[in-house]
Amino acid sequence: MPKQPIFSKLFRESPFVAVQQHMEFASEAVGQLSNLFQASHAADWARVEEVYNTISEIESQADEIKREVRISLPRGLFLPVYRADLLELVQLQDQIPNKAKDTAGLILGRKIVFPEVLQEQIVEFVQVSQEGVLSVLKVTSQLDDLIRSGFSNREVHVVEDLVNEVGVIEHRADEKQILLRSQVHVLEPSNNPLDMMFCYKIIELIASITDVSQQVSHRVLCMVAR
């Protein structure tokens, strides 16, 4: 007889669960980058394409969640954080899978192979950015607990510590990036200038994944610290 009792309509599903899901997809997309570089170093272009397709698939799933979060957050919803903050957070998070997809697209499209001396290091660089994203995943996974604990100080401290962890990783990534760039610079005279330009480009893209990760973690902290 009753369609939806009044109480069911008052409560809305927590948007923080979707935010966390989105971040999981983001980290999955970045996780694929190791495979991507391994395939490109072996010049296995069929495999590169496969990885590109996987990343592209994950990216569109993340997009779908982003869309859901946006439509599930109409005005008139009462949230414990600012609605604009939450929308911006998802927007920021969404750059992570996008950048992973850009990297894969560029490597596949231009068949970029890093000079052999750099191959090991670029894989390490990618691993650092993966670590960063995994740390951010830990930060966003705290959101649900934060709401449950009513933003208790202890819980906020947990988030602070995790954000610091992301900061340390970002610093490591920076150092790695500087090192890599100087090595590319050394190789410039003996290589095709265009290839070199694209090496710089890829290094920049991977570095930016870590940068965005850090921005996401800061955004979460700003959202919950008051």
């Binding site: 009792p5 069911s8 009462f78 208790s152």
Partner: protein
């Protein structure tokens, strides 16, 4: 008086059937809202909720339901004006029951949020002002009731806000939240037990045959609350708490609050029974008193307890036949409530409703609960609330009063046509 003499029994049976119908409606639909926050916070299972609702709705109706019933029966209408034509009061009350019953059925079919209280008050005011005369309505009392409809959700909201803030300040935000919870929760249990015991002792037990003074009531309420606290402490101490991370700590604290929620759910069912059963039983009581006294309107005789038992039985019937399904629906759709936030919202509204019951004011349990939930939301205790619902509730409020009134006026003149005046 002829009508009463000739058709008295028939009219009483009709009123009894409609009264039972309405009580059934309360049990079938309204109880689900009262139990929703408890089930939704996962502190109690649906089966437990149904058992609690059965026992405590009936206890509330029987032990503390008398005062509001009296308001519905003789507080809204000035009985002095009906001295000469008691049958009009009988017709009117039967019409109100039928009008409210039908309107609730229609509203729940379409999923509109309406309150049984608002419907029945609208219906009584409607038949009295149009069918009899505008002066027949005790406008002072009606104004007071209408005001309470604004005040009760606000009061519940403020209470819930303060309660939730206290939970955060004294339990969650301490160095050892689990230990604080194990110490603090019995204190909250004491509060819950005391408020409920006090109101039913002061206001409810007169018609059961117990007449006790305020001091005695205070003493008994303290004893009852103390006993409940001991029971709660035992239950709390049985909860194992080992927390290696902040997350596990939160989970353990909520488990302790689950014990509290058990008590709060009982209080809510009790409060709901004490206030909402009057909507069905008040008009029936009015009809019964006119007919059993052979046409006296303004007599002061108390209320026979069989009426309250009938109301309680109607609620129980509604729960068994239909209410359990609605509880399931509501409970499973409220997933974002934790025991600590659910406690704050539920206890705030239970306290507000039970105090209103003691002050013989009919308020809407559902609206009070909405107020309580919003209060917790304001304290940042909930993930997402749909504020548009507040607008919808407000609109349904405005629509319900004239709808109940129009229907009861229609039935009033129909009954008058069938049975005549004289």
């Amino acid at each position: 008086m002829v009508v009463i003499e000739n058709y008295g029994f028939v009219l009483l049976v009709i009123a009894g059937v409609f009264g039972l119908f309405m009580a059934w409606g309360v049990g079938a639909n309204d109880v689900a809202n009262a139990m929703g926050t408890s089930v939704g916070s996962k502190a109690i299972t649906i089966k437990q909720a149904i058992v609690i609702a059965m026992v405590f709705e009936c206890a509330g109706a029987y032990l503390a339901g008398g005062e509001v019933t009296a308001t519905i029966r003789k507080g809204i209408i000035d009985p002095g004006l009906l001295e000469a034509q008691p049958e009009l009061l009988v017709y009117g009350m039967i019409s109100s029951l039928l009008a409210a019953g039908i309107w609730l059925l229609v509203a729940t079919t379409f999923g509109w949020p309406v309150s049984t209280t608002h419907t029945i008050v609208g219906a009584i005011v409607g038949f009295a002002s149009v069918g009899i005369s505008v002066d027949a309505v005790n406008w002072g009392k009606v104004g007071q009731i209408a005001l309470s409809w604004v005040i009760s959700p606000v009061l519940a909201g403020v209470l819930a806000f303060v309660l939730y803030m206290s939970v955060r300040r004294f339990i969650i935000n301490t160095t050892n939240p689990i230990r604080s919870a194990k110490r603090g929760v019995p204190v909250y249990i004491f509060m819950v037990g005391f408020v409920i015991a006090m109101v039913s002792l002061i206001k409810g037990l007169k018609h059961v045959g117990l007449d006790i003074s305020f001091e005695e009531a205070l003493l008994y309420a303290l004893v009852i609350a103390f006993l409940l606290t001991i029971l709660g402490s035992i239950l709390v101490s049985r909860i194992k708490s080992h927390a290696r991370s902040v997350h596990e700590e939160i989970v353990s604290v909520e488990r302790v609050f689950g014990v509290l929620m058990l008590f709060t759910a009982c209080a809510m069912a009790f409060a709901h029974g004490s206030n909402d059963v009057a909507n069905a039983i008040g008009p029936l009581a009015a009809v019964n008193s006119v007919i059993s006294s052979g046409g006296q309107v303004a007599q002061t005789a108390g209320m026979p307890s069989w009426l309250l038992i009938l109301g309680a039985a109607g609620i129980a019937l509604g729960l068994i036949t239909y209410g359990y399904k609605v509880i399931q629906t509501v409970g499973s759709s409220i997933t974002e409530l934790t025991p600590s936030s659910g406690f704050a919202a539920t206890f705030a509204s239970a306290a507000t409703v039970v105090i209103a019951s003691g002050a013989s004011i009919p308020v809407s349990t559902t609206h009070t609960l909405v107020g309580g939930v919003l209060g917790v939301g304001l304290a940042h205790g909930l993930a997402a609330l749909n504020l548009r619902m507040v607008g919808t509730i407000f609109t349904s409020w405005i629509v319900t009063l004239p709808a109940g009134a129009l229907l009861s006026i229609l039935f009033f003149f129909t009954l008058k046509g069938i049975f005549g005046v004289g």
